[in-house]
Symmetry: C2
Subunit: 254 residues, 2 copies
DNA sequence: TGTATTGTTCCGCGATGATGAACGCTTATG
DNA sequence: CATAAGCGTTCATCATCGCGGAACAATACA
């Protein structure tokens, strides 16, 4: 509007708006959707018809749903990531060894994305799902990545997304974060002390490729009462580092 | 083209064409993509810019990739399916009990979609992935669904997709299929005797909801040399039926 | 250094997507 | 039972907006 033709193709933007709304609403009718995206019913209807013909949307009785074609898309998108193919089974092992939740993260558009997650026998109940996107500064996984990104990229990301507080312990000061990232670079280990979620602590290590660029990170997360003392400070970090090294080795030979 | 305004919104169709091509090509540059979808570079570029801004596409060095935002979409789409939430752990059990591959399927747009899959200890190596879409007439899972769909829907699907042969054993005759579906309705069990893949046999049962409509099916699949005789004809079918009943029960109370 | 690709920008034209009104239809409501 | 309110759908008009060719820039290659 303000900048005339500088934004993307409206029809496409709207189509994805509709798809996302459809997801948020757990399926919806034309009118409900039209109201939600603030567009005339006819426009929404036209989009739905198009999306249905392309099989990205499904009519389920009296409402529309997003189809499982997205499952197909995402599954190949994920499998294309070498990191996922290589790290997946190692993350399973990490969960099994520690009994806690283990996760695999990568970065996209300045946010952290959970690529995979595995639950050990003692694992806390689920709080995040595969595919979830979280602010990168408030998780051990994110900080492990952030620390090893090139300086330019790092400030670009922080400038764009800021350091919003998502829990009382979240680091919101650039100075403090910079210092912590410095120590992450030294130890190759990042910690999260209830910075995203009260009662949850985690330990993460970055995964670097052959050229030394970060391509993701792995972690172990558990309730604070189990993640403390020597276990939190030494045992778990060592295990995580060990698995990280195995993954990096496997990445080289493939 | 031939029918002027009767097809959907072109911009949206093209956007999805591009996304799919991007997936097929494992990431690509503008020119390569433009060539693949047979459109001018500038048009493709415009779409990519739009998709990137919406975070559905990512620039990875010198080429574009589909982003993991699709993972987020598909994960919520899948979790919205009550069938998935309820049946998932039962499918795990089915795999564990039999040692083979167990799968969960549902129907969309007349095709079978794998919603979930679990591997037992003896499981054959993977041949299909979650999200894959297969012709519905050539799998036990598909036939279990097809048999319990309303007459109208069934013929509509067969009319639309035909009965193409995907293996030497595939049923391609409507009469033959109709007879087999009749027996599926009686037994509540469908078989696949190498009809989709040479050397692979499977046994499936439909899942009906409270009102008696099919909402999916579950199966056990294994190599022909293990799936035969009494095991193929009695033992496995009984196990599958048992789990199917459990799932149906759980569906009622939720 | 020249050449052949690549990704990107620009702009005018004309197709085409957006729109509101109108149509059946089913479901609340008096 | 009649009326009204809501739904999804269709239609035709108009201005917009996406399209595409050509020009440009930035690289890789010989």
């Amino acid at each position: 509007m303000a900048t005339p033709g500088s934004d993307g193709i409206q029809a496409v933007d709207r189509a994805f708006d509709i798809v996302e709304s459809l997801n948020d609403l757990d399926g919806a009718g034309v009118s409900e959707l039209a109201d939600h995206v603030d567009l005339p019913k006819s426009t929404v209807h036209n989009h739905l018809k198009t999306l249905e013909r392309a099989e990205y949307v499904v009519r389920d009785g009296d409402e529309y749903r997003t189809s499982l074609k997205f499952l197909q898309l995402s599954e190949t998108a994920r499998t294309q990531q070498e990191l996922y193919r290589v790290a997946r089974s190692e993350v399973d092992q990490l969960a099994e060894k520690t009994g806690e939740i283990s996760a695999l993260m990568t970065e996209e558009h300045g946010r952290g994305v959970f690529l995979y997650r595995s639950r050990g026998s003692e694992a806390a109940r689920i709080d995040t799902c595969v595919g979830d996107r979280v602010p990168i500064h408030c998780t051990a996984l994110g900080k492990a990545i952030l620390a090893f990104l090139p300086e330019g990229r790092r400030t670009e990301i922080i400038d764009r997304h800021g350091l919003s507080a998502v829990s009382p312990n979240t680091i919101t000061d650039r100075e403090v974060l910079a210092e912590e990232l410095e120590s992450v670079r030294e130890e190759r280990i990042a910690y999260d002390d209830e910075e995203r979620l009260n009662g949850l602590r985690s330990v993460a290590a970055p995964i670097l490729d052959g050229s030394g660029s970060v391509i993701g990170s792995i972690s172990v997360a558990g309730p604070t009462h189990r993640m403390r003392g020597d276990r939190f400070e030494t045992a778990v970090p060592e295990t995580v580092l060990g698995i990280a090294n195995v993954i990096e080795l496997n990445l080289e030979h493939s």
